[in-house]
């Protein structure tokens, strides 16, 4: 157990508690509850995909699911963005290969960091609401919810980033 692992464990537990105790009860404008917990996928050190991120993101999503009675929706979506985050980052940076030893989240140019957050958040929220309704007739509603909730989540994630990066 080195320091990084302990930090990650605390981050996981803290995010689950924050999500279920506070964020799932916000109901802004009636139904908007931000999914801040996916910040875990961004804060996880940028490195080649391995089983630790796959398993952790799956269990993070499953924990949220168990608390909010949503089956496996969050687990599915969180695992999906955990798997595609490196390919997405590669295409945003326009590089074929990333030098993992020098790339870190807060060294990214602001616009690219923002784009990275926006793309992954949209994918995650679209999967969550798509699976929740599971019907094409609700496509408009799914898009609307995805859009509104994403805005809220992205704002929260970017605010958290400024706090975390200042600390370091």
């Amino acid at each position: 157990m080195n320091r990084e692992n302990i930090n990650i464990a605390f981050l996981l537990i803290g995010l689950v508690l924050l999500q279920i105790v506070v964020l799932n009860n916000i109901n802004f404008l009636g139904y908007i509850n931000p999914f801040l917990y996916i910040i875990f996928i961004f804060l996880f050190p940028i490195k080649k995909i391995d089983s630790s991120l796959i398993l952790l993101s799956f269990f993070l999503g499953l924990a949220i699911d168990i608390f909010s009675n949503t089956g496996g929706i969050n687990a599915f979506a969180t695992l999906f963005i955990a798997y595609v985050r490196i390919p997405v980052l590669k295409s945003i940076l326009g590089k074929r290969e990333i030098d993992y030893s020098i790339t870190s989240l807060f060294k990214l140019p602001f616009f690219r960091l923002f784009l990275y957050v926006v793309i992954l958040t949209f994918i995650h929220h679209f999967i969550v609401f798509g699976l929740e309704y599971l019907k094409w007739s609700n496509f408009g509603l799914i898009l609307l919810k995805t859009f509104l909730t994403s805005i809220f989540t992205i704002i929260l994630i970017m605010i958290s980033f400024t706090f975390i990066s200042r600390k370091r």
Partner: protein, 276 residues
């Protein structure tokens, strides 16, 4: 063979990813079907315990509302008692033969420790479980009306399928005529539910009261549901009927769980009849 193994080894993360996604999808599909979500629900030791802690804080905020509801219920019950007393006075003596009475419904009180009402499929979590004699498929009500049906039950906690759930179907009828229909929810508004399958012969008016039908063994007859808000007829059938609930589903404190003691007998009898 070696090639297959090396192929699997090269793509091991992708295979792990696929397997876990498949698992998540299975949980999702299970939760959409009515009675199958066995693993992923908030009726277990950890989640129930945490929700219980959170609820202890929240309860203070709800006390005022809850007290008001209780006092209203008290007034109602006193009124009912008053009616009985008067009818008792007509006779100067009564013989109460307890053999003639039998208890059909047993009520258990519980506290709601988690409540969702903004989603497509809403559930509540309550702080009583199999240790208190609860099982799945029991009706849940409070003094204002119906709330839902128990779904998963653990030792000390249970989840309740709210009437605000797309999968929920409850047998209801009109108070003033014995026409039956079923209650469902279209996921638009948490204070409005829909009445389906009501025959056109039933003449309804805005403001009519809807109560539970008592056709199933889950709810006894006559639990209040709500009043008719608006409706539309089309091709000589009811196109839609909206019902305003008596209950405010966004703030629910204490509930009662109804256990029909004759349930087993009725079920057995019905099975026997359908097998013949």
């Amino acid at each position: 063979m070696q090639q297959i193994i090396s192929f699997l080894y090269k793509n091991k993360f992708f295979i792990l990813f696929l397997l876990l996604e498949l698992l998540a999808l299975t949980f999702t599909i299970q939760s959409h079907s009515y009675h199958k979500s066995k693993f992923v629900n908030s009726a277990n030791f950890v989640t129930g315990g945490i929700y219980n802690k959170i609820n202890n804080f929240k309860e203070f905020l709800l006390l005022k509302k809850e007290n008001k509801r209780l006092s209203e219920e008290n007034v109602y019950l006193r009124n009912v008692l008053g009616i009985h007393e008067k009818s008792l006075l007509k006779f100067d003596s009564i013989i109460t033969d307890t053999v003639n009475y039998s208890q059909i419904y047993q009520f258990t009180s519980a506290k709601v420790i988690n409540n969702s009402y903004r989603k497509n499929n809403n559930y509540l979590t309550i702080n009583k479980g199999s240790d208190n004699g609860l099982e799945s498929d029991l009706g849940v009500i409070n003094s204002k009306g119906i709330i839902g049906i128990t779904k998963s039950v653990s030792k000390n906690y249970a989840t309740v399928l709210s009437i605000l759930n797309v999968n929920s179907r409850v047998n209801v009828k009109l108070l003033n005529s014995n026409h039956f229909g079923s209650l469902s929810w279209d996921n638009a508004n948490y204070s409005t539910v829909q009445l389906l399958d009501l025959p056109i012969q039933a003449s309804i008016y805005i403001g009519d009261t809807v109560i539970t039908g008592g056709k199933s063994t889950i709810f006894p007859e006559g639990i209040p549901v709500g009043t008719i808000k608006d409706f539309k007829t089309k091709n000589n059938t009811y196109d839609f009927i909206n019902i305003t609930l008596f209950n405010d589903m966004s703030s629910i404190g204490f509930v009662q769980i109804i256990n029909n003691l004759d349930k087993l007998e009725i079920k057995e009898l019905e099975e026997k009849t359908s097998n013949e």
